[in-house]
Symmetry: C2
Subunit: 242 residues, 2 copies
């Protein structure tokens, strides 16, 4: 469980929720540090989402598990549309924000501890690059197998991620090479979130190309039903069972 | 001398100078981290300066030493007005920006190594909180004595700083207490600047109230001639010789 001082992401969205200025800082394990943008992005209403996020909502059916629900951006939209939505996050403060904003069902748990004990869903969402919460390809496969028993036979996974290689920034190209050399996937980012005095533990966050996505899916019960293309290498994969 | 990978501030302003996005991140030695604002602020033209900065220019006479000249915001304005201006900075990349922007005289040197060997000036500027470059009260007194021999008899120091205690933010109030408990002045910040993969060494940056300023000046050849008040505890002290 996250300790209070580790809940950097939750404190960030909680600060914004309280109308304070809140900028997310992300530090990478090669010393690279950058601003990930304002907390505002975690609160944008449906009307302001990028087109491929809006499009993805058409694939949502029935009861929903929103993995890494953050400030409730997607979960609250779907709840309003009549879905039973469970928001799961490992951040106590983020879930507090979700609850204060009206989300009825929340689960405090890291994505990698999810199992059928939390329920059976028609749709599992991993929006906002949250496919990355699997951390590494081995754990992704392991969790994808577990997601089989957490979903109805017609169940779907809707996962957003990004092709790491779609960049021309030398500091990122360098890091991909650094990762390959130490036996990791290029987009297997080791990062932590910092906000004021709060810092999450270091964690792996995996971003994958379509080829890498399909390679990971091999041997799991899931196949790509449809891709929804975004900008800058971002895309959403709608997964269905084989 | 700063190593290449330590020139975080210089890389920040150089990136902005090249029209890239550039946000300054400042880390404090208690783990607090925050965004100090965009690099844009180091480039604002005179017309957009806060009133007390504009007002301070009326006190500038003759040849000028601009301590911590950064991207040349103040030095270039004064050079354009006909002053002979020397910009001094410990950041090679910041001085590169100054030169590319047209500043004729630059000196690569930490503020604390300045001596009459660099010249004799009518005005020494420490704008943009750069009184802080003295680092601690002992070094401030030591440098202020040295500034006597670096200035003409009618010479002035124009120094901007900020009352640390003018804040209601708990994370800053906590740090002031933390500082007192370890025998430092409340506003004796120990920080480093980070930008992408660049990080300056940790350094002390001193911000002082008017009372603290006058306490520091005691026993030096300098007295406050005038205060120019800004916002949020920021002020400029125009110092003249006793």
């Amino acid at each position: 469980m996250l300790k209070d001082e580790e809940d950097a992401y939750g404190q960030l969205v909680y600060a914004y929720h309280r109308k304070e200025e809140a900028v997310e800082i992300v530090e990478r394990d090669d010393g690279f540090i950058d601003v990930a943008g304002g907390a505002k992005g975690y609160f944008t209403p449906y009307e302001e989402w990028p087109a491929w996020n809006q499009e993805a909502m058409k694939y949502v059916r029935g009861t929903v598990l929103d993995v890494g629900s953050g400030a409730g951006r997607v979960a609250l939209y779907l709840q309003e549309r009549g879905h039973d939505v469970w928001g799961v996050d490992n951040s106590p403060m983020a879930l507090k924000v979700c609850k204060e904003r009206g989300l009825r069902h929340t689960i405090l748990m890291p994505a990698t501890q999810l199992s059928s004990r939390v329920g059976i869903f028609d749709t599992i969402l991993m929006m906002g690059n949250n496919f990355g919460l699997f951390g590494n390809p081995r754990r992704a496969r392991w969790m994808l197998r577990r997601f089989r028993n957490m979903t109805t036979p017609e169940g779907r996974i809707i996962a957003e991620t990004r092709d790491a290689l779609e960049t021309d920034k030398p500091e990122h190209l360098w890091y991909h090479e650094f990762n390959r050399n130490r036996g990791r996937m290029p987009g297997q980012l080791r990062i932590r979130v910092r906000f004021k005095k709060y810092a999450t533990p270091w964690f792996d966050y995996l971003i994958v190309s379509k080829d890498e996505m399909e390679e990971i899916l091999r041997g799991t019960p899931w196949r790509v039903h449809r891709y929804l293309d975004g900008e800058g290498g971002i895309y959403i994969a709608v997964l269905e069972k084989v």
